[in-house]
Amino acid sequence: MAGYRVNKTYAEINEKIRSGQVVVATAEEIIDIVDEKGAEEAARTVDVVTTGTFSPMCSSGAFFNFKQSVPAIKASNVWFNNVPAYGALAAVDCFLGATEPCEEDPLNKVWPGEFNYGGGHVIQDLVAGRTVHMRATGYGTSCYPKREEEREISIDDLPQAILCNPRNGYQNYNCAINLTNKTIYTYLGTLKPKGGNANYSTAGQLSPLFNDPYYKTIGLGTRIFLGGGIGYVTWHGTQHKPTAQRSKNGIPMSPAGTMWVMGDLKQMSPDWLVGISMQGYGVSLAVGLGVPIPILNEEIVRYTAVADEDIHCQVVDYGNDYPNGVDRNYGYVSYAALKSGMIHVNGKEVPTVPVSSVVKAREIAMRLKKWIENGEFFIGEPQFTLPVS
């Protein structure tokens, strides 16, 4: 990896943050900077590029420890506001998944279901400081005799509350259409019949893994913006698939890399962790996530300068192909086209609908930029980076 004209270390960049000398640009701002100055000069000037994404991320949830009661309980089953959590950990530990619906929810029995409340909403209520009703049952043992426990709890009552999302920040995703004759309700939103609309869900040029497509700076220990607070990348996420086909600029053409992220829920905010109800599909959690990319050399800054025109995703039919595992697509479209509001599929104009919030993604990149400029946030050097093969 020799032969870079610009070489910066994590320590040098963090020293600049400490001394207030650091230069930070968002993933949108860097596009013009590289365009004007060229990659080498841009890499000399800019130290960090901030990214952001804000979208429903189903593979999310939180670990809670909720303190022993007197007498003590081995809580096997746990509910928060009637949303079941997984209790098969130590006595008063549990995991609450974002997509768990509340127990009396009619689900899709009245189709399409509304899914008004679930795990994602509990997480948002807790970070908002609201009280939730906790209920736990156990079968009773000598050391843990209590069989039932009910409490009103707030996040301050929990000794630990840790957001732990096994898959966030997907590097690219499908653009979904529906070629059947009926409206369908998917995790990518409502899809009208006969290709009536095309839904897509990444922030394009702002999205973290598009800006470091080979994960040269991202891995265990990368410090990130997570849910309005500070979190970390701890592993590659589930379904991480770095071998997906890539275009010349290194950008995958289909869903590829993912991140496993964690952080202390207690310092997060309900503005950046939002409970989601996807009609006919289920509940989820919209997660605000931002990754700072340290500009170690000119190659990395070139990656961060990727623009919507250079990022493509495949158009997939969610009416028939996706549920039946048919490996087929209806061509590739750029994020520039998707954001323009209209794409062409099979020679027909199809209006596009985003599911990911670009407005919020941009705000995350801006906030992260401010944090770094103010010396409140330092770049975490990964112990090892996410696998590329």
């Binding site: 009208k192 109800s277 985003p354």
Partner: protein, 142 residues
């Protein structure tokens, strides 16, 4: 004389039949169309003021319902709780009138209540439940 503003929601196939004209012909009702948005392949929405005797009114509405038309009072309005809106854009997939639209290039979602036909489609399509049905401030009848 009985008069009410109604929102008629036509299922996609029904729009071709002149059901509204039959209200005059068979039920002696007069109508005044305030707003109509009917696109090919989509559900149609019509807001109209329907007047006549109370009995005819009732029968006319029953006739519409038998034709598969969803009939609702227009004494409601749809509003957006801006503190809940995350500007994702999901609602723009279902809004038939363009009341909810994306402002480019910034990609924020604007809500123009003047264009809203109160079809309520966005209320359940909005993942954060930012869109709400409320009783309208204006009272149209009685």
């Amino acid at each position: 004389m009985y008069s009410k503003i109604l929102v008629l929601q036509f299922p996609s196939g029904e729009v071709k039949k002149p059901v509204v004209c039959y209200l005059t012909k068979y039920y002696d009702l007069s109508f005044n169309i305030l707003k109509a948005t009917i696109f090919p392949r989509k559900e149609g929405i019509m807001v109209l003021e329907l007047s006549g005797s109370k009995k005819n009114f009732k029968n006319g509405v029953q006739y519409l319902k038998n034709q598969g038309v969803v009939v609702k009072n227009a004494s409601q309005e749809v509003t957006r709780d801006n503190s809940k809106c995350i500007h994702c854009g999901a609602c723009t997939a279902v809004c038939p009138t363009g009341a909810l639209s994306i402002k480019r290039p910034e990609m924020w979602v604007a809500f123009d209540q003047k264009k809203c036909s109160v079809c309520e489609l966005c209320v359940r399509a909005c993942p954060t439940r930012a869109m709400k049905i409320q009783p309208s401030s204006e009272t149209f009848f009685e």
